[in-house]
Symmetry: C2
Subunit: 460 residues, 2 copies
């Protein structure tokens, strides 16, 4: 009963779709954040639910850890096999199984990425709106309860997954939910699995809600004298009830990153990037109302366009935020914070973050899905510089504490993974954490599903 | 260790807020559906979370069942103490604790009803939109994952509860979630408790999302030659993307019930009852687009009004559906079915239901939140007439089977309670049901929280 014996048992089943090569193990052991290289013992590429089921049955028998792998774009080290075992690469399970255009839903496999899905849907006039920036796999997005720039209008993955097929720790296959829009039939296993980061089961199929392409879309930018002015403009916009499709804060440091990385020449000032959707008349009405609010907060250069190319260019730039950070001081890595607070607390949270990062001498960009009260500090750090790493992680802890003090959460959308395990007790308290542990133990008694993630081993 | 010893232990704590009187036990043992009178051993009226915690601690020690009681308006016998024990009446925990108008949220106690909340909010310009018809308690609405006429726009309770305070089976008190709009911090305990019907914990506090009062609201009615025409009109309306605030089907039998119960003189034909919300221009645009679609399906008498009194009168009538059933054949009870199917399957589902009820000689009204694919057959039955009860429950089973065949659910919003336990395995399969049982066992190892509800004792 060991990892080695599990690999022996899996080898005849998966053949050359099981690899222990250094190259593949390294590819699955790296990450886009500051965590150290962490090698799995083997990488397996399943092609069917049946294969995932058989793999879990054997890994359960051999007590071998299994960590699902989508595209590796997570920011908290979710896919790192910190206790060794199998990296289960879902990239070959990437089919669209069923487009139910008349019901505005789609059934897909978890390895499909969101961009691939939207290309596939193009002819239907429908699309999947959730957009975390990275071209992540949809299984991974469900596992981390991802959201992003469009959550202010469409919610997060929890609101857009209708049903899942899930392989449990011992290999049994369950379905959570149906294609009905709503149900009151028992415990909401769908929402329990969404956000469970591969610790309760392996997602092998997803039924997702789709949206119709809006009749009209406009994008806009507007700049402000300070992040505080920009955020106060957002607060009023949300409270006024304008149905924003996107409303993103980009601080002056992030603008500098965009200018360097993408050869732009935006004024280095805090900006809001915006999108409006609806009928042509309603889009015009929304933009006009927003423009009046922005003016009250000293917004200048409010500029809107209904040209698709300009809009795509804007969101491409925004989505490159994580990579544009690298242009600020190449060679360093990014530690991204992810607090989310009630919107009335947002100005305090963002201005405190900006002030403290400066006081601490940390190079840090601020971008935010501010309509939800969620923002990221992209803190630049050399992980081999112990002093700098401690300073940056200390800053991240300050922000986490602040978010909880302001009745918010330590992570709006990135998830817990490895990096935020230390905040779980502060956010939930020991008894809620024990309830989560009881659920984990009930569904994965041998702790083989992504062990070491989400739940701290003991109350702290 | 028994119910009697638990009551002995609770008596000094609750004094005259613990009662074993026949009158109170009967009041808490009746129901609005066809289930037999089922008396709890005692009724307790807690006033604080601390009292609920102490009660659970003692009932856990004495292995005494506890069943939370809101307003008793559930339709599947949720609040019936089928294994005896305590009926925990939450009506004294009915305070609004915190109105956070700037964040569009509110913190309340579970015994508060939705109408009471909305009266309390009147001066803020905000309201809580979920509307199951009955003036239910908000704790009860969360426990059954309620929805109703506005779910097509605002979703269900799962989408509108931000966080909960919950007393666990052994008396520990946890908080699930914060006031942030979204979070990826660990397992979604909020969504696990919402819809768990008091079987995993007692809700003692809720943080709810609010909506701003819309600038303009119009209500409308439209009648059709058949339920099929009406439903096909709904399908096209939803697929067109009109952001309907309400879209309700009322069949000819239900109209007869309204006419009798409320002294109306509507033509006895299938109707849609509608509501549009938005800016004045957008409401007019929506109504016009809908009108054109309705015409394509032979809709006549399309009539819209922006007068609040007429609108309130319309929804008051609709909400009286359950009681208007009684006017059709006084003395009988109503068994309400609650299937929900993908919208493309809705015409087949509704027409089959109407045809089969007639073939079986069942007096039955059809009303539906058809924008979600959810509809109810209000089957009139004399529960003491064994043949009629068997015929009606057989019909309900046919509809449940049909819903599952059409990729839907046996209950869109009423919940499982007692009446639908028998469908759980058909809908979820034995392994998903076992996963639910494992969660129940993990959180309530003595099975004292609303035992006998949701989960069948064994696989069937």
């Amino acid at each position: 009963m060991s990892i080695a014996s599990a690999i022996d048992a899996l080898t005849p089943i998966f053949g050359d779709r099981l690899s222990t090569s250094d190259a593949l193990r390294e590819q699955h052991g790296t990450n886009e954040s500051h965590f150290a290289l962490t090698l799995p013992d083997a990488v397996v590429f399943p092609e069917t639910t049946q294969e995932v089921s058989e793999l879990m049955r054997l890994c359960h028998a051999h007590s071998c850890p299994v960590v699902a792998f989508g595209t590796g774009t997570s920011l908290e080290g979710h896919h790192l096999a910190v206790q060794g075992g199998i990296s289960l690469d879902m990239s070959r399970m990437n089919k669209v199984l069923q487009v139910n255009a008349e019901d505005l839903d789609v059934v897909i496999q978890p390895g499909l990425t969101r961009e691939e899905l939207n290309v596939d849907l193009r002819a239907t006039g429908l699309y999947f709106p959730i957009d975390p920036g990275a071209n992540a796999s949809l299984g991974g997005m469900a596992a981390t309860r991802a959201s992003g720039t469009t959550a202010v209008k469409f919610g997060t993955m929890k609101d857009n997954v209708l049903a899942l097929e899930v392989v449990l720790a011992d290999g049994r296959v369950i379905r959570t939910g149906t294609r009905a829009r709503k149900s009151s039939a028992g415990y909401d296993l769908t929402r329990l699995i969404v956000g469970s980061e591969g610790t309760l089961g392996i997602i092998t199929e997803l039924t997702l809600r789709l949206q119709g392409q809006p009749e009209a879309v406009s994008a806009a930018t507007c700049r402000f004298a300070s992040v505080e002015d920009a955020v106060n403009c957002v607060i009023t916009t949300i409270q006024t009830g304008i149905p924003m499709a996107r409303i993103e804060l980009v601080d002056e440091m992030m603008v500098r990153g965009f200018n360097l990385h993408m050869n732009k020449d935006l004024p280095e000032a805090p900006h809001l990037f915006l999108e409006f959707q609806g009928s042509p008349a309603s889009v015009a009405e929304q933009a006009e109302t927003f423009g009046a609010i922005a003016e009250d907060f000293g917004g200048t250069g409010f500029n809107w366009t209904d040209r698709a190319e300009e809009r795509n260019e804007l969101w491409k730039m925004r989505h490159n935020g994580h990579y544009a950070n690298n242009a600020l001081n190449p060679g360093k890595k990014t530690l991204a914070t992810d607090v989310c607070v009630p919107i009335s607390q947002l100005a305090e949270a963002v201005t405190t973050a900006q002030r403290r990062s400066r006081e601490l001498g940390i190079t840090c960009t601020i971008v935010g899905h501010v309509g939800d009260g969620n923002f990221h500090c992209g803190c630049r750090v050399d992980p081999t510089d112990a002093e700098e790493l401690a300073r940056v992680t200390g800053f991240a802890e300050e922000l986490a504490d602040m978010a909880l003090r302001l009745h918010g959460t330590v992570t709006g959308e990135h998830g817990i993974g490895l990096g935020k395990v230390k905040y779980m007790q502060k956010e939930h308290g020991p008894d809620a954490l024990d309830a989560m542990r009881a659920i984990k133990l009930a569904l994965d008694p041998k702790n083989i599903l992504n062990p070491g993630k989400i739940l701290p081993a003991t109350n702290q």
